[in-house]
């Protein structure tokens, strides 16, 4: 079977006043259909850039990106991909029902899903007429997920979607995202700073290095599914956590060592 996303030898160079910035250098990875993959690495390793290349917000300066067997541009026009950011990015002048239907309205997606059904799916039944300002951060982010699912995309790109939330809400959102993913089985690319979060959610974790951004390691997560909260306490979870941590760039820990010494 063809991979859902294929990134081959991609370079991404941004022009900048003080000389060009190489965000990505010779990055290659494949993501299979219905696979949940996390991108993890230090700030400035280009993980968000990689996501934006798949979403066709940026075009690579070298190499090729294929989404669902075609160019990212074609996939964007066919609305096969949907994006979710660190901030919910809801429009404050629309109520949450209208916010969810906005993506359907603009994309004119034919096989879209019912916004009311999606809102009850994300646990916000009865709040349809509320405005984003009346909801908590976690609730707003759930609206953003409902909106991302509304056009029934094949691929979901999530750029640190829970990073702005407190740790308890973040864990809860993770559990809840997993339960939704179990039911819908979309291809997910999940960018995060948190190793436990990446491990808990993913089938695979791609570890990246900064300056220039490149793939450092590709780790398959050996944890059974479906997973629930108790998984976070398992010995196997800690072992995998240790394995991933050992693969992280040493530069991330240098400061700690200096402080310790």
């Amino acid at each position: 079977m063809n991979p859902a996303i294929s990134v081959q030898n991609v370079d991404m160079v941004f022009p900048a006043p003080g000389g060009a910035i190489t965000a990505l250098q010779d990055v290659s990875f494949d993501i299979a259909e219905a696979e949940f993959v996390s991108l993890i690495g230090p700030s400035g390793c280009g993980k968000s850039t990689a996501l934006r290349l798949i979403a066709d917000i940026h075009q690579p300066t070298g190499g090729s990106v294929t989404v669902a067997g075609q160019s990212p541009g074609q996939s964007r026009i066919q609305h096969l991909v949907n994006l979710m950011f660190q901030e919910p990015v809801l429009l404050p002048w629309l109520n949450i029902y209208q916010n969810v239907s906005l993506s359907i309205e603009i994309t004119k997606a034919k096989d879209h899903r019912d916004p009311a059904e999606l809102l009850s799916f994300v646990g916000l039944k009865g709040r349809e007429k509320d405005y984003p300002g009346q909801l908590s951060g976690g609730m707003q982010q759930r609206v953003a997920l409902a909106r991302a699912l509304a056009t029934n995309p094949r691929i979901l790109l999530m750029d640190e979607p829970f990073a702005a939330l407190d740790e308890f809400t973040r864990d809860r959102m993770g559990n809840w995202l997993l339960s939704i993913w179990e039911r819908s089985r979309k291809t997910v690319v999940f960018v995060t700073h948190s190793i436990p979060e990446a491990l808990y959610l993913s089938d695979r974790v791609l570890i990246m290095d900064a300056n220039p951004g490149r793939i450092r390691a590709d780790v398959r997560v050996e944890l059974p599914r479906p997973r629930d909260e108790s998984m976070r306490e398992e010995i196997s979870f800690f072992e995998q956590l240790k394995a991933i941590r050992s693969q992280m760039p040493k530069s991330l820990y240098v400061e700690e060592e200096l402080n310790g010494g």
Binding site: H79, N82, L91, W93, L102, T107, Y131, G133
Partner: protein
């Protein structure tokens, strides 16, 4: 009982302002009477009130004349400001070139051009006053609208692009709603400026039935109570204009944070 209670609760926050207002009027009255202040220096509120009542029809007539000038100028200036903002926001290069000029022009005392515009359009022609008002309100209107159209959450633009939305759809669904709070701020500034602009440009001459002309003529004849009565009309019109815009803002953009905060 509960209806009256509700009304009472709604009025309570305005009580201090009301007390200060009435107190200031009483103080003024007492000051004028107690120190035996001359009429031409400062008429007592009771005298101004009596004059106001005697000349009510005439004052209403001249007040409406000037209000029409202010409204006309407001409409012309705001429409042009919004249109130019839409045009410049569409072409980033144009807005980047024009904005510094607009911001500089905004700090020019445009009222100083009043005699020249009186000459261009004819001193008795209300259009000369409307032109001044229009120029005065144009710049804050344009600057604020451009800000509202361009200061959009970059992530929201990315989101729209990921939906393959056209630039026109982004303008309609994102930039225009985003600019509404900015536009209402400009409307509020413009409302105050338009009444000031109309009255002050009338000081340089104009139709006999205009507020500014009336105030200067009455003052020149030492009929200060009449001048004060006309000033009250100008104040009432200015405040009413501002309140109407506040009301429209509440109806049109109830989601706006500053409105919601005011309601709490």
């Amino acid at each position: 009982m509960s209806e009256a209670n509700k009304l009472y609760r709604r009025l309570v926050p305005y009580l201090p302002a009301g007390v200060v207002f009435v107190g200031a009027i009483l103080l003024w009255e007492g000051f004028v009477r107690g120190f035996d202040i001359q009429q031409f220096l400062l008429p007592a509120p009771s005298v101004i009130g009596a004059t106001f009542g005697e000349n009510f029809d005439r004052l209403l007539h001249i007040g409406w004349f000037t209000t029409k000038e202010a409204l006309g100028g407001f409409a012309i200036g705001c429409s042009l400001g919004i249109l130019v903002a839409l045009a410049t926001a569409r072409w980033t290069a144009a807005s980047e070139t024009l904005m510094p000029f607009a911001i500089a022009a905004n700090s020019v005392p445009i009222i100083a051009f009043a005699p020249i515009l009186n000459n261009w359009f004819g001193i008795d022609n209300p259009l000369s006053k409307m032109a001044i008002v229009a120029v005065i309100v144009f710049f804050p209107m344009m600057i604020n609208t451009v800000r509202g159209l361009t200061l959009v959450d970059p992530s929201a633009v990315e989101l729209m692009r990921s939906y393959a939305a056209s630039e026109f759809e982004i303008l309609l669904k994102l930039r225009l709603p985003n600019s509404l709070p900015y536009m209402f701020n400009a409307f509020k500034v413009a409302a105050a400026l338009s009444m000031i602009g109309a009255v002050v440009s009338e000081y340089f001459g104009g139709n006999r039935s205009a507020l500014g002309v009336f105030i200067t003529q009455e003052a020149a004849q030492f009929r200060f109570a009449e001048a004060w009565a006309a000033i009250i009309i100008a104040c009432v019109v200015g405040v009413t204009f501002y309140m109407v815009i506040l009301l429209v803002e509440r109806l049109l953009i109830p989601w706006h944070a500053s409105v919601r905060q005011a309601e709490r």
